[in-house]
Each structure stands twice: as C-alpha cells, then as structure tokens.
C-alpha cells in the first residue's frame, strides 16, 4: 500500500534551472496538495487540486506551476529556480468524502538551489 509517493527525495539545482517534482497517490483521493516547509516554519500551501483538470493557487504559488491530468498524479514544476525555493516540499492527498478529512503526506523532497 504505497499511499503518496514523491520523487526525487533530494535534489540540488543551480539558479535558473528548472525541474519537476513528481507526486503520485494510489488512494483514489480527489484532493491533492503541494506544501513547502522552511526551517522553523509550518507548512505553507503552494497549490492544490480538487480533481483532475482543476487546480488553484495556495498561499505561496509564485515561481511554481502544477497540472493535474489524472486523479493519481500531481506534479509540481519549478521554472527558473531561485535560492528562495530551497525548502522541503511535501505532497499530500485527502478524500473528498464527508468525514474523511485526514491528509496523507509523502516523504518529502529536499531541494537546494545554489
């Protein structure tokens, strides 16, 4: 039972490079999220999706893009990486069924931009 799978686990990028963080879930959840966690801070919502084809911005979307072509996958794209994007990124998913409010998280991607 894989849950939420993120790849890669670690990545070092040079300023100006781009990359895609992959996220897949096998729980048939409608809701998916991307968070970033900076040292000493809580998780900040970057983008979220309520279903395939539907995405929207969270609190800190600048510098990122997402797509949701399938229920399972929710990749996060970084264009023109900047040092301010050095962070740990977590993908999560949750069910849209009433009463199921728990979010399940992936193991995270530690990204360093140098």
């Amino acid at each position: 039972n894989a849950g939420v799978t993120q790849t890669p686990k670690f990545r070092i990028l040079k300023i100006g490079q781009s990359m895609t963080l992959q996220c897949a879930q096998d729980m048939n959840h409608n809701y998916m999220y991307w968070y970033r966690q900076d040292p000493g801070m809580g998780l900040k919502l970057i983008y979220y999706s309520v279903g395939a084809g539907i995405t929207d911005k969270g609190e800190v979307p600048n510098g990122y893009n997402v797509s949701r072509s399938t229920t399972e996958d929710f990749p996060l794209r970084l264009e023109l990486a900047a040092p301010s994007q050095t962070s740990v990124y977590f993908c999560a998913s949750s069910s849209s069924e009433a009463g199921n409010t728990e979010a399940f998280f992936g193991q995270g991607t530690r990204l360093t931009v140098v």
């Binding site: 999220y33 801070m41 809580g42 998780l43 979220y48 309520v50 999560a92 949750s94 849209s96 995270g108």
Partner: protein, 113 residues
C-alpha cells in the same frame, strides 16, 4: 497572516511524564483540527483530530482538548515515551473549503530517559 500558531518551538519532557502541546488559532470558521507527528526525513503522519462540535477526543495515550471560546487546543501525551520524540504540527480546517489545511510552525518534543 499566521492563522494557526504554536508558540512553543520546543518541549523537553521526562519519559513517563505528561507532554502538553498547545495551539492557538484566529479564524473562527475553522471547524476541524488535527495533530500531525513528523520524524526527521519523513512526511507528517496523522495522529489525532477533533471536530468543533466536541471538546475532547481521546485515542490511547493521546488526548486533544478544544476550547472554542479561547480558540485554543492542546494535545496531551500520557505517558510520554522515547518514540514520541518528534515534531508535532497542529492543523486547522474549514471543512467546506476544499480541504485547505492551515498548519502551525510545529513543536519539537524531546522525551528524555
């Protein structure tokens, strides 16, 4: 605008004693609250939750208390065990807001022998 606040960045407690973690929130629309536990190099995992229609929820060694008038919730861990050493995040949710969780900054708990 930090809507969920955990004002204690760290807590040290002796094994066998009670750990009390606190969380305050500002948005009166929040109607569901969760606690997550996070070990290093892992994602947060769900621990316990409480709906705003309740003031207490218990699951084994973990109890969450909600005081809506004070916009405050707390997590009690009794007795504390070495495996409880982790970062604990408080999260809050307006349940009809597409599941957008608001997280606190976390409290690092260290349980000493």
């Amino acid at each position: 605008d930090q809507q969920v606040k955990q004002n204690s960045p760290s807590l040290s407690v002796q094994e066998g004693r009670i750990s009390i973690l606190n969380c305050d929130y500002t948005n009166s629309m929040f109607d569901y609250f969760l606690w997550y536990k996070k070990y290093p190099a892992e994602g947060p995992t769900f621990l316990i939750s409480i709906s705003s229609i309740k003031d207490k929820n218990e699951d084994g060694r973990f109890t969450v208390f909600l005081n809506k008038s004070a916009k405050h919730l707390s997590l009690h861990i009794v007795p504390s065990q070495p495996g409880d050493s982790a970062v604990y995040f408080c999260a809050a949710l307006v349940t009809d807001s597409w599941g957008k969780f608001q997280f606190g900054a976390g409290t690092q708990v260290v349980v000493t022998p």
